[in-house]
């Protein structure tokens, strides 16, 4: 009864104040419209970055130089990383945050809607600038996404374009993060206490603080590069009393929290998907919150494990080795709790659950190789080999990207009001999961055997596994084409779904109609609804 009254009220609301045509998107202040734009942008970048990865794997299919010259190859590795990290994964998370956080905390919209518009619209400009560097004299940035001086300073006309696009991406994600924090802190419905919040909201709150703390540090680091190059400062130039290794320290002070920025929201999504399809509340909700908080804290004191081989005193190596290994404890708590949630649950394997399960297995493999890399003497062997490439792709592709996929497949019926083609989604899942392993697992072997990363050619004994890996890459790349196709179909048509698209789902978003009204919770949800959502 109460639900019906609420729905009617929303229906009435949803018909007004909706601009049409291009103004709806360019002037957008609505959290769902902006969320949609973020997700479409991220998907576009995912395919652009993916195309670059295809060039890399094509060149590495056989030993010798086949298709691209070494400069372009290096541009591809550099741009692939920048596009995927700053263009695909981070905007996808911000898009999901925009869509879901107001609905999940019982707010009508994000707290700062015009800032929200601004932070999105910076992104197309930032990436136009970055991608157009492919066409300037000297080519796109090719010194690696980590931008180490002095190599990055030798990059010709693309260097300032790289720096300014990083500045713009940074500004965008800082503003997006501020909006998330203000929404969560100020816009929660009465009765939505912090420890009743869904884990996606929790992980995003912590991610947002990480973003506000470290994106400005990256902005500072690239600004120092800029002034070193054009204004004669010597932050990283030994000739003037600077130190190039200093850049690495500052960069990784940003860089390590950054990898948790990429993965923490995935923890949140998996923490919502697994209970839904296990039909059990999440095991150890509070432990999950504290684990995420401790991972976030630890992420600030482990950065030098990215640079063990630059020359560091033994005491520092020991400190960074041990603090890095410490992260395995809260991460282990999370993996244990997800597994325990499924224990004696009534499991079913819809597409979001499949992606969440693959996340659980494959992210853990990436975590284990991370532990191997944390061991200083072992790291001296693994440093800059394909083992590192295998490690971080395991945590980023079947980790972060599968987390995004799980989230999209989980909430897509809510967004569109239609159920998608589950058969096609299953195909997408199985092809992705098989090929992602064919793609990245052999890279462990290549790395342990000594194949260096970021080199367009290799010794002949690496040929077989490189071929396998490239075949996996082409399969993975092609199977991703199913994803936009499936979303397009789902937006256009499909079986209608009710408010609660999955019968095991809990949380305020499932109390709203599908698709939800234009402004989510114009009247704050009742305490009973909040309590029903917070079933943990």
């Amino acid at each position: 009864m109460a639900d019906h009254a609420l729905d009617a009220a929303h229906d009435h609301d949803s018909h007004d104040h909706k601009p049409h045509g291009w103004r709806r998107w360019v002037y957008a202040t609505n959290h769902k419209d902006i969320g949609t734009m973020y997700l479409v942008f991220a998907c576009t970048m995912f395919f652009i970055g993916g195309a670059m990865a295809m060039v890399i794997r094509l060149e590495l299919f056989k030993p010798g130089m086949q298709f691209v010259d070494p400069q372009l190859f290096n541009s591809m590795t550099t741009m692939h990383a920048l596009v995927m990290i700053f263009g695909a994964v981070m905007p996808a998370w911000t898009g999901l945050a925009n869509w879901m956080i107001p609905m999940q905390v019982g707010a009508p919209d994000m707290a700062l809607p015009r800032l929200n518009n601004f932070s999105f619209w910076i992104l197309p400009f930032a990436f136009t600038l970055l991608l157009s560097s492919l066409f300037v004299p000297g080519g796109a940035p090719a010194g690696g996404w980590t931008m180490y001086p002095p190599l990055v300073l030798q990059n010709g006309a693309s260097f300032p374009m790289l720096i300014f696009s990083i500045h713009m991406m940074g500004a965008s994600s800082i503003l997006g993060a501020i909006n998330v924090v203000v929404t969560i802190m100020n816009m929660r419905a009465p009765g939505m206490t912090l420890l009743r919040m869904p884990l996606f909201v929790w992980t995003w709150l912590i991610t947002a603080y990480l973003l506000i703390a470290v994106m400005p540090v990256l902005a500072g680091a690239v600004t120092m590069l800029l002034t070193d190059h054009f204004f004669g400062t010597t932050f990283f130039t030994a000739a003037g009393g600077g130190d190039p290794v200093m850049f690495q320290h500052i960069f990784w002070f940003f860089g390590h929290p950054e990898v948790y920025i990429l993965i923490l929201p995935a923890f949140g999504i998996v923490s919502e998907v697994i209970p839904t399809f296990s039909r059990k509340p999440l095991f150890g909700y509070e432990a999950m919150v504290y684990a995420v908080a401790s991972i976030a804290f630890l992420s600030f004191i482990v950065w030098a494990h990215h640079m063990f081989t630059v020359g560091m005193p033994l005491a520092a190596q020991l400190f960074f080795m041990l603090s890095t290994m410490l992260i395995a404890i809260p991460t282990g708590v999370k993996v244990f709790n997800w597994t325990a949630t499924m224990w004696k649950g009534s499991l079913s394997f819809e597409p979001p659950m499949l992606f969440a399960l693959a996340f659980l297995f494959l992210f853990t493999i990436g975590g284990f190789s991370g532990l191997m890399l944390a061991i200083v003497p072992a790291d001296y062997q693994y440093q800059d080999t394909y083992f590192v490439v295998a490690h971080f792709h395991y945590v980023l592709v079947p980790g972060a990207v599968f987390g995004i996929m799980a989230g999209v497949y989980y909430w897509l019926p809510k967004w569109t009001g239609h159920m998608y083609n589950v058969r096609l989604a299953n195909w997408h899942f199985w092809l992705s999961t098989i090929f992602v392993n064919v793609l990245f697992f052999p890279q462990h072997f290549l790395g342990l055997a000594g194949m260096p990363r970021r080199i367009p050619d290799y010794a002949v004994q690496f040929t077989d596994w490189n071929m396998v890996s490239s075949i996996g890459a082409f399969g993975f790349g092609l199977s991703q084409l199913l994803f936009p196709l499936l979303i397009w179909q789902c937006v256009r048509s499909g079986a209608k779904v009710g408010n609660r698209a999955w019968e095991g789902a809990h949380g305020l978003e499932w109390e709203l109609p599908s698709p939800p009204p234009y402004h989510s919770w114009t009247e704050a949800p009742s305490d009973a609804l909040i309590a029903r959502g917070a079933s943990h």
Binding site: V182, N186, V214, P216, V217, H249, I250
Partner: protein, 181 residues
Amino acid sequence: MSDRQRANRTLLWKLLAFAAGAFGFGFALVPLYSVLCSVTGYGDQTQLQRKAAVAREHPDLNRTVTVEFLTSVASAGEWEFRPVVRKVQVHPGQLFTAEFFAHNMTGRNQVAQAVPNIAPSSVAAYFHKTECFCFSPQKFTAGEARQMPVRFIVDPALPEHVELITLAYTFYDESSRVTAR
């Protein structure tokens, strides 16, 4: 403006200030790292300073060592390469500069490099070249002739029995590198 809007704006400004502080912190890391390194001795700054102290001159005026310079070229007749002064008397701990003369008679633009050798070889550890034309390849246009410096310090810790040090250079150009292969 409603209370909520006011609260949102306050928090927005606080977070922007936090971000600005983080931007400043990025720059503050530069001096912070040097403070950390000088306090703890990490980054081998103390060792670098010890090295730098060697480079400062503390000549031992009571002692004199002879340094003689030898030169040879890989392909006779194409280069003139000789020391300006054949022999010098130095005090250990004193910074000294010796000039070498090279003349490209190959008739082509050339890149050449000198390879040093110190005899007796046990003395090599006490012979510090702070700057040398042998550190990098030298470009010569056809017919170019010029002098090139080497700056060195003989370590005051040089064993007592050593009275003569020989610094020998062999001069290779690109063509000799090709024939060597």
